[in-house]
């Protein structure tokens, strides 16, 4: 009997497929969307604070700008920030996790305590502080989120590495004189790609939550549209009483983004470890 491939098993995981389709739609909206939808600036020509209509699909904001366009450009910002945060977290977390899991010893213990200390730091207040000091921009927000997301990734890489390095094929590689670097970054990394991928989807989700929180607190980049920023403008002016769409649509976007990425992560995880499924 042939073993089922990952994709075949994954396609049976209903929630995972929903997450995958949702993530694909979000990516489509955020990456391709901005080419078709104009960037909103200045004052709009439409009625300010008008509800959803045929012309303005999701209504307009206080300046008469089209909310649908703002949401699409907001998706672009969310993807940009969460993907950059993931890259930053991977760049720090994967090497540190591999080294601490594979070489153990003093260096391993040192990295281990670095992971634990970083994990105990309450991140949001610190991020607020840093964003306020450095000044709000997409790049700052992305780097700050990534710098605080690496410990979870490093810990997952470390734990998976501990398990994989017990395997006989790692010993075989050692005997064959394969270098430590190749053992870690090829032999081990290829075998822990699953859990890493799962954690990346979770970081994508939390990164958007953090980005929205920062924007909602007024620490987002003022030059781009972001879902948290739209909420912040609406609440600051008290428009949430009059224009429900200014609250519901951006909030729903944040929620769907988080849910879809989490579902994708759950799908991948449960396909890789069928036992974790109840």
């Amino acid at each position: 009997m042939r073993e089922k491939t990952f994709l075949e098993s994954f396609s049976r995981h209903r929630l995972g497929v929903i997450g995958c389709v949702g993530v694909a739609l979000i990516l489509l909206a955020g990456v391709v969307g901005p080419f078709f939808v104009p960037f909103q600036k200045g004052y709009g020509e439409a009625m300010p604070l008008a509800g959803p209509s045929a012309e303005n699909f999701l209504g307009t904001d206080a300046l008469g700008l089209d909310l649908f366009s703002e949401i699409i450009w907001g998706a672009r910002t969310s993807i940009l920030i969460s993907a950059s945060a993931v890259l930053v977290a991977m760049f720090i977390g994967i090497p540190l996790g591999l080294v601490s899991g594979y070489s153990r010893g003093k260096i391993g213990a040192l990295i281990d305590s670095a992971i634990e200390i970083t994990m105990t730091i309450p991140t949001l207040p610190l991020m607020i502080l840093i964003s306020a000091l450095v000044g709000p921009s997409v790049r700052t927000v992305a780097v700050v989120i990534g710098v605080f997301a690496w410990p979870t990734l490093a810990r997952i890489v470390r734990n998976s590495t501990l398990k994989v390095s017990q395997m006989q094929y790692i010993e075989a590689a050692k005997v064959l004189g394969i270098s430590k670097g190749s053992i870690m970054f090829k032999h081990i990394l290829l075998n822990i790609a699953g859990p890493v991928l799962v954690d990346i989807t979770l970081i994508m989700a939390t990164a958007v939550l953090t980005e929205s929180s920062l924007s909602y607190l007024g620490l987002g980049d003022p030059n781009v549209w972001s879902w948290g920023g739209i909420l912040q403008t609406a609440f600051k002016a008290g428009h949430h009483f009059r224009a429900w769409w200014l609250v519901i649509f951006p909030a729903a976007s944040i929620m769907l983004y988080v849910i879809f990425f989490n579902l994708l992560g759950i799908g991948i995880n449960e396909t890789l470890n069928p036992k974790s499924r109840k």
Binding site: A172, L176, G177, N191
Partner: protein, 329 residues
């Protein structure tokens, strides 16, 4: 047989520390190997037998530097290799290679078979070009009875026997002089076992290899070895050329091992010696002779004094008080 000793093990000891409990009296150790001495001659197959827990795998792993010896030396071609590091260790790796027990666990599931065989050659820069490496890989696959066209496939497409062939090809990729086979056939079906054993014999003839063949199965060791070393609780009990060991074994432990191996004919089945009890814990090995707790010929003296390894006949060594005087009991 050529009597050049290419590998010498002298007084090899390996203790694994166990973490003492909070109220325990200091750290304790698993005594995996106790003063093992052996010589490996060029071109021979040395079989190592023993029960599980006898230290036979540790012996192989210590020789190949997967474990650091607690004391003693491993000399390869006259050079102590037990403290090698870095580049020197890497160079030493080309001399001695290992075939592992579990053909499923010893291949990385995410690397293609061709890459698994080629990787050591790339790491050691054996060839200048990719084409040469590829050619050598195909050559190795042919040598172990695999089709070179399967190089791009992944281990899960192969059966246990085929995987073991891949493991052998990988070990041979560095052109080693010595191959340590750690239970290399015990995970395989009996029919496949004989194919792999024949492959080992053919490769030995073709490449002039020397083997250390570790196994718990006496019939396998009997088939493939020239000399046999019997290990019990990390101690060498008897070493002898195969033909002589099966004909005339001196040590009571060897006697019980051989009598316990299954015989196809009922006529030969009588006189089986059943040992009482389990192999004692290597954390707290018995004083005196290691085997005295289970020996059916145990004397008072065996409980207090450990016998030395004595040459009874040329090339036949025994560690037993029964043979302390030149004659026999």
């Amino acid at each position: 047989m050529n009597m050049d000793s290419m590998l010498q093990v002298r007084n090899l000891k390996k203790y694994f520390p166990i973490k003492g409990s909070l109220f325990g009296a200091g750290p304790s150790y698993v005594h995996a190997l106790e003063n093992v001495d052996l010589d490996l001659y060029k071109g021979e197959t040395l079989g190592v037998v023993g029960e599980s827990g006898s230290g036979k795998s540790t012996l192989g792993r210590t020789i190949i530097q997967l474990e650091q010896p607690t004391a003693g030396k491993v000399l390869f071609e006259g050079k102590d290799v037990s403290a090698l590091k870095g580049e020197e260790l890497k160079r030493f790796r080309t001399n001695i290679q290992m075939v592992f027990q579990d053909p499923y666990a010893s291949l990385n599931p995410r690397l293609s078979v061709g890459y698994a065989i080629a990787e050591p050659m790339i790491a050691h820069k054996r060839f200048a070009s990719k084409a040469e490496t590829k050619e050598a890989t195909e050559e190795l696959m042919k040598k172990v009875g695999l089709q070179p066209s399967m190089a791009s496939q992944y281990p899960h497409n192969f059966s246990g026997g085929q995987r073991q062939r891949i493991g052998i090809a990988r070990a041979l990729s560095l052109n080693p002089k010595v191959l340590i086979c750690d239970e290399a056939v015990s995970a395989l079906d009996v029919s496949v076992q004989s194919q792999i054993l024949n492959l080992f014999n053919a490769l030995k003839r073709e490449l002039g290899l020397t083997y250390i063949f570790i196994a718990h199965d006496l019939s396998v060791v009997r088939y493939i070895s020239d000399r046999i070393l019997v290990l019990y609780l990390g101690t060498v009990m008897e070493i002898a050329p195969k033909s002589r060991l099966f004909e005339k074994h001196y040590h009571p432990y060897t006697e019980s091992l051989i009598s316990a191996s299954p015989e196809p004919s009922t006529a030969k089945r009588k006189g089986r010696i059943i040992l009482s009890g389990e192999i004692p814990s290597p954390i707290n090995p018995p004083k005196g002779c290691k085997f005295h707790t289970r020996c059916f010929k145990c004397m008072e003296r065996c409980k207090v004094e450990e016998p030395g390894l004595r040459e009874i006949e040329t090339g036949h060594f025994v560690r037993c008080h029964l043979y302390d005087e030149k004659g026999r009991n």
